[in-house]
Subunit: 139 residues, 2 copies
C-alpha cells in the first residue's frame, strides 16, 4: 500500500496524479521544483520498479520536463533520482534559469527555501492544467 | 556526428560503450562516479531524444545502476541528468555510501576531487568487465 513519505508530505504540496506518479511541488519558490513519486510501496531505486513502471515513470518525467521547459522558457531542466535523505523513490524535475538563485549549481542545499504565497501556488496549478499533460489529473 | 564534449573529455575517462551511450568514469576517486553519454549529436535534454533512444538510455542506466549497487554494496544510487555546466546530455550514475565524503549531500561541488591511481582505474575496468553488463563493450 503506497503512502507518501512523511518528509515529502512536509516539504511539498500534492498537485495531482499521473497514471503512475503523484506530482508534488517543493515548497521552495526559488525554482519551479516538481517531484514525481511512483505510487508503489517499498521502492527506493528506479531499477526496483518493474520494466513497465520504469518506462511509465520516464514517460511521465519526459512529458512533464518537456512541457515545463517550454512553459517557463527554461534554460535547462534538471531531472534526478537521488534519495539520500528520503528513501522513497522520487524524481526531481526542476526548471532552471541562468538567473536563478543557485545557477549553475544544483539546487540541493544551496539556498534557503523561499515560501510560496497562496496565489503563486494557485498560478502554478492553473499553469499545469493549461499544459494538458497526458494522463494528468489535478488533485 | 557525435563528439564527446571537451569538458567531459577533460574531467572523465572513457571506459567503454553501451549500445546507445558512452560510459565515462569521473576523475574523482571520492565516489564510484559513472556518466552515460548518449552518442547523439546536439542533444541537451532527455526528452529531445526520440522515444526509442529514451527507452534505451534508461534501460542502460538501470542496468548499470542495479549492477553497481550490488557490486559496491551501495547504500543508494544517485541517477541524474543535470547539465547546467556541460550542455551535452549526460546522465550521472553515482554509487553512494553512508560513509562517503559528501553523504547525505549530493556530490556536485561538495568535496575537492581526489585523483585516481592507475591501479584503481584498472580495478574499476576489471570490475565492470566482470559485471557482464548487457550490450557493454570495453573501450
Amino acid at each position: 500500500m503506497f503512502v507518501l513519505d512523511s518528509r515529502l508530505q512536509q516539504d511539498c504540496l500534492v498537485l495531482g496524479n499521473f497514471p503512475l506518479c503523484q506530482l508534488l511541488l517543493s515548497k521552495d519558490a526559488n525554482y519551479p521544483w516538481f517531484i514525481l513519486v511512483p505510487r508503489r510501496a517499498g521502492i527506493s531505486e528506479v531499477f526496483e520498479l518493474d520494466a513497465a513502471d520504469q518506462q511509465q515513470l520516464w514517460q511521465e518525467a519526459s512529458c512533464l520536463a518537456g512541457a515545463l521547459k517550454a512553459s517557463y522558457n527554461a534554460d535547462k531542466m534538471n531531472v534526478a533520482a537521488l534519495g539520500n535523505v528520503v528513501s522513497q523513490l522520487h524524481v526531481h524535475v526542476i526548471v532552471r534559469h541562468h538567473h536563478d538563485a543557485a545557477w549553475p549549481a544544483p539546487v540541493w542545499g544551496k539556498c534557503p527555501a523561499v515560501a510560496y504565497g497562496d496565489e503563486q501556488v494557485q498560478a502554478i496549478r492553473q499553469r499545469l492544467g493549461e499544459l494538458k499533460l497526458e494522463g494528468y489529473l489535478e488533485a
